[in-house]
Amino acid sequence: MPELLRLQSDFATALRHRDRAPAVQRWLAGDDAHADRRLGIYRANMVAAADKALSAAYPVIRQVVGGEFFHGLAREYQRGTPSTSGDLNEFGATFDAFLAAFEHVQTMPWLPDLARLEWAAHRAYGAADAPEWDAATLGAVDPERQSAIRFQWSPGLAVIESPYPIVRVWTIHQPGYAGEFSVDWDVPEAALVARDGFVVRVTACGPADAAFLAASLAGQPLGDAAEAALRQHPDFDLGALLARAIPARLVCGFTL
């Protein structure tokens, strides 16, 4: 193995496993205690980078659990799921699964769904700007072919369905929120996450609309997605949904 590769492998091991630092000592100038103190700076940087990246993506969870506990979550998450990209905006995609399995947050079973919501918001922030689209083109589709329409939703749009009131929890933790803080934990909620210009909006979405949007986002044509929604929710009203979604520019095109 080339020397540099051995050195970097030993260095990486020493950063990730403090008890396995001796392998790197042979490469480092100075005595072992000195070298270990200096390696500690890099270990702290590593955790700080994870904390910073996750804090940017999950600001509500950070508020909910507190900065100190969140730092511990970041360290534990990074230990099991180290970053794989030089772009820290990519770090944290599986934080929801980590939270679902992490024993010290089991008293907050809604945390993983809140994480999914925040990750969707994080992705929507940097999603492509919605292209211009003339909604009148939809009216020109032959009625017999309408069920084959596949909508193009605005880039970054996501629906997060949860048995917990995740939209409520998200809302009361937003900067500038001035309302009251009660939460009814028995209310299931679906979150619609979408960009409005440059602003990411998170709004509650009825279960029927959520079922339709989830099917449509998964690539199903209009007819199949509507049928899927109607099967579970006989009150699903496609016309009403589109009458809200199109002016809000949540739809930005379709294919046939």
Partner: protein, 278 residues
Amino acid sequence: MTAATPPLQGTGIGLRQPHYREVFERRPELAFLEVHSENFFLEGGASMHALERARAAYPISLHGVGLSLGSADRLADEHLAKLKRLVDRVEPALVSEHLSWGAIGGVHFNDLLPLPHTGETLALLADRVDHVQATLGRRILVENLSAYVEFRNSEMTETAFLAQLARRTGCGLLLDINNLYVNAVNFGFDPVERLAELDGATVGQIHLAGHTVVDDCLVDTHGSVVCDPVWDLYAHACARFGAKPTLIEWDTDLPALDVLLSQAAQAGTIARREVAHA
């Protein structure tokens, strides 16, 4: 290799999110704005819009922190592809990266880790810099690092290493005066002697920043004003190399914009004074 825009002169600051609005409203007189490339590897949205506004008003310096030029196993071509897309979109005045590594075996530390200064490392870095410059279709600048450990197998100083890298690849150097000072204290060498190892024509940009003292070690935190020994070393560099585009780097505990502007003004004053006396 040709630059997209004429060479820069003067001082700039980093454009960070809390200052977006004030910078766009006040339009302070600055030679350029610097951003971290990776913060703009996005398809669209508010950050990209802010960068476009900044680009319309100022030359941009793209400073990369995640390419990991010195990883022994591989260069992340997917990362380089994102940088290429950003460079094509922004047409920056300068593109820079670090003499460092940050990833091995698929794990990324998202840090600027030091390299041993050996012939093996030099051959690797020369290949990587050639590849990056060919992919981007332009010259890049490579920055000296602040470090907290030194390697026994190093065969030359970092500055001698960088001088050779510049000769072999045609890349420019980003001389970070604070990093040089931090290392001089941490490892006990004379930074002025190290500057003498560089060819001024290869220095394409200078960085100035603050650091923190932790126990027996200076840590490069970019969270405070430039200290007096770093200003003195900057004056020495200006006298030796001539005025170079100079950045005030500040990434943590961001102060009021005016603090950055006053640091930038101080750098400008020193550069003019030293060049006039040279």
